[in-house]
């Protein structure tokens, strides 16, 4: 076996490797220079009025609103109950359009802004209607 340690075309190979390394890490350093800021969900419409509260505490809603909606739809459709009573005894009709969107009237500014940032694409709006949206 010939002991051939010579590397052919060393310059081209090394340059190629460097270019490859730069390209493959492009998303990493590109994003470090420009981090997209998390949107602060804007309270607009009826929900923005003073003294309004969400159906549950804000921190809970932020983390668990999908769970709330999941419970709501099962309870309404499968258990035939439509009234929700929260911790402080306040009552709400369990409805995505008629309750959530009645307060959060600007779905595009509120729900969608946050979802777009987090790349969550709920399919609910294929059926449930955003009254603001033209069909």
């Amino acid at each position: 076996m010939p002991n051939n340690k010579k590397m052919y075309d060393k310059g081209k190979v090394v340059a190629g490797l460097i270019i490859f390394g730069v390209l493959i890490t492009f998303p990493l350093w590109y994003n470090h220079l420009k981090v997209a800021p998390a949107p602060e969900p804007k309270l607009v419409g009826k929900a923005a009025k003073a003294g309004q509260e969400c159906i549950e505490p804000k921190s809970f809603m932020k983390a668990e609103h999908m769970l709330v909606l999941d419970i709501w739809r099962d309870t309404v459709v499968r258990s035939a109950k439509r009234v929700y009573v929260n911790e402080s005894g306040k009552e709400f009709e369990m409805s995505l359009t008629n309750t959530c969107l009645d307060c959060h009237t600007e779905k595009a500014e509120f729900c969608d802004k946050c979802h777009n940032y987090a790349l969550v694409l709920p399919y609910c709006w294929d059926c449930h209607i955003d009254p603001k949206e033209k069909m």
Partner: protein, 262 residues
């Protein structure tokens, strides 16, 4: 020397596993905490209309022509955002009309009286006592409620259409297309459906929940009556006692809850 290196590596490995598992355990701990925080209390509304077994009696003597049936169909299709698709194969219907020979095929003969021969009959989901659609649904999207209403949970429908094959009354329609462009005037309070799901009459459960009668009953000028089949004093039982009624395809054993006074 060799063996102490082995044991060192083993201990290091196990410790690394332990450290790695901590965040996972934290996640489990926190989700538990969150779900515990929600102790929802839910109940029915105060005005809810209740029954042990809902039924509908259709007095066909009160109808003379197709015009008389239109208000009921329109009322239903309007509040439920039922699209108007002209193509028969794509048509969506919750409540519609059929001739006698298609409504009651086993009762048809060539010497039917003129009235019945030319009359159109209102047809809709029969909310059967033993619904074939419920038996075949692989996801339990179609189910029978405690009060006898056969309901669809659209969130579970995968569009397999077994229910359509099973239903002997043609009460179900499939959304071959996105229905939204074909809804003339939408009702934002009630969801539409989407391409790929089956749909049918829901006995207006959303109206019963707030103390309103089904839309077709309300629009019928007294020709349609709904009530509790289990309550001997109910209006439907009174009608059934005092009139001869028939049901669609009774020999199939599905036990329809829609009765026709012919």
């Amino acid at each position: 020397m060799e063996s102490s290196r082995r044991s060192f590596l083993k201990i290091a490995g196990i410790s690394a596993l332990g450290l790695g598992a901590k965040p996972v355990l934290d996640v489990f701990a926190s989700t538990e905490e969150h779900t515990e925080a929600l102790k929802p209390e839910t109940r029915k509304g105060e005005d809810v209309l209740k029954a042990k077994r809902w039924a509908l009696v259709i007095d066909t003597r009160k109808f003379e022509s197709e015009e008389d049936l239109k208000p009921m169909i329109e009322a239903c299709h309007k509040i439920h955002n039922v699209p108007k698709l002209e193509n028969k194969r794509h048509e969506i219907k919750w409540i519609w009309t059929e001739e006698f020979k298609h409504t009651f095929p086993t009762q048809e003969h060539e010497f039917l009286d003129d009235r019945v021969k030319h009359l159109l009959f209102l047809t809709l989901c029969n909310h059967c006592e033993k619904p074939a659609c419920v038996r075949v649904c692989p996801t339990k999207a179609t189910f029978k409620r405690e009060d006898g209403i056969v309901l669809m949970d659209f969130h579970r429908c995968i569009g397999c259409r077994f229910c359509m094959a099973a239903c002997p009354y043609g009460s179900r329609s499939f959304n071959f297309r996105d229905p939204r462009p074909f809804i003339e005037e939408r009702n934002p309070k009630f969801p539409t459906r989407m391409k790929g799901v089956v749909e049918k009459c829901n006995f207006c459960v959303e109206r019963l929940a707030v103390g309103e009668l089904p839309a077709c009953v309300e629009a019928s000028n007294g020709a349609l009556t709904c009530g509790d089949l289990d309550d001997p004093k109910s209006e439907v039982r009174e009608l059934l006692r005092s009139n001869f009624t028939i049901r669609r395809k009774p020999a199939l054993g599905t036990g329809p809850s829609v009765f026709y006074i012919v």
